[in-house]
Symmetry: C2
Subunit: 215 residues, 2 copies
DNA sequence: GTCTATATAGAGATAGAC
DNA sequence: GTCTATCTCTATATAGAC
């Protein structure tokens, strides 16, 4: 009787209630935001009982945090691994550092499961002034940004810290915006999702590299 | 008996109910999002009656649209005016086009009234997938983006359209992110608000100009 | 671990007196 | 144009049976 909700892909028989809730919540948070997504909508779409969220996660806030944790842990790990790899070469190549930052993020939106939804959730998180959420992200993933800021400082020893932070912010903004596909101008939709992301990554690497090198 | 709510600055005796609602709503939308802001919170903080929102605006959705309209009209007008000015010089200078796009936006966050709140509202709007809102913004202000895209195409006749759109998206993302001050890394807070914004604008113009000129 | 049922609170919107 | 009062709906969370 349990499991096998309609959302399950064929041939993948067993998704736990907990995971179904996470998948559906992620997708709904992307579409309607945190405040705009009710637990009733989550549970009904996940085909689980309304009480299941509170049983498995304790509260809506904990559910939100858990949605972040399961993706961000993996993305941060990937980013740091790629950065460590880039650091092994001497001299440190700017494009390698940028790729280490950008590609794991854009790769997420190619995950066959809900990675694409998560990047929109992430974009919403930045727009939230919610202190709880900001603190959670800063506490758990702030060190990743700091690592990249150190690496970039090594690439540009003459650049003052202030300018460096601005440029890192511009990169993060452009990446977030591009990942979530916010543009109001529509582009050719002929490309596949994969080609679209690869194009985005290489365009952004070129754009940001030039930006960082600006006089 | 009417007017003179506590939020009014001294010496500015008469703010209409309608305007007080708009001001408070803007600030609360910035902080809590659209779904996260109840009309009860708006009206209580504006010191007006709960029924006043529906009387003056008809619905919450109309209130949201009105919050956008009163700022975006002015910003779009300014952007197009600055762009027209830039276009008068031959050859067209990239930095002038970028400044025409960037500076009116950052100037908004220096308005002595709630402009700073509005830029955060704007950032939230991008994160919303709300079709009603996207259509409203696209219908009313899409032509501004198209004007800039034409001007930039004139600056880079050899660049293909696809690449141009990407770069415009990166610019918009970096600008939105910088305006709303989303960065997780904190910068020196010694600078005044005005100096902060001017620094942001000149850094972004330099960053984006280099980015657009990238090979 | 999952269910039904419900407590409690808050939402947007409106009717009708003043 | 502003008020009170209220309709109707939905929210999160929990208690307790199975």
């Amino acid at each position: 009787m349990p499991c096998l909700a309609p959302v399950n892909a064929p041939g993948t028989p067993h998704f736990s209630t907990k995971q179904r809730i996470l998948d559906v919540a992620e997708s709904l948070f992307a579409e309607h935001g945190f405040a705009g997504t009710s637990l009733r909508l989550v549970t009904s779409q996940a085909a689980v009982n309304l009480a299941a969220v509170n049983y498995h996660f304790g509260s809506k806030d904990n559910l939100i945090a858990e949605v972040f944790r399961r993706r961000m842990d993996e993305m941060s790990r990937l980013r740091l691994e790629r950065l460590a790899q880039a650091r092994r070469s001497e001299p440190l190549v700017l494009e390698e550092v940028l790729r280490a930052f950008i590609e794991p993020a854009l790769a997420l939106s190619l995950d066959r499961d809900g990675g694409a939804a998560f990047v929109r959730v992430l974009a919403r998180a930045y727009a939230e002034r919610n202190e709880r959420l900001r603190k959670f992200l800063s506490d758990h993933y702030g060190h990743v940004l700091r690592e990249f800021s150190h690496a970039l400082a090594r690439c540009f020893p003459a650049l003052d810290k202030e300018a460096l932070y601005w440029r890192l912010d511009f990169l993060a903004g452009a990446l977030t915006y591009a990942m979530a596909d916010f543009g109001l101008l529509r582009r050719s939709s002929s490309a596949s999702e994969k080609a679209h992301c690869e194009r985005a990554a290489s365009e952004l690497v070129a754009f940001a590299a030039a930006g960082f090198r600006a006089g």
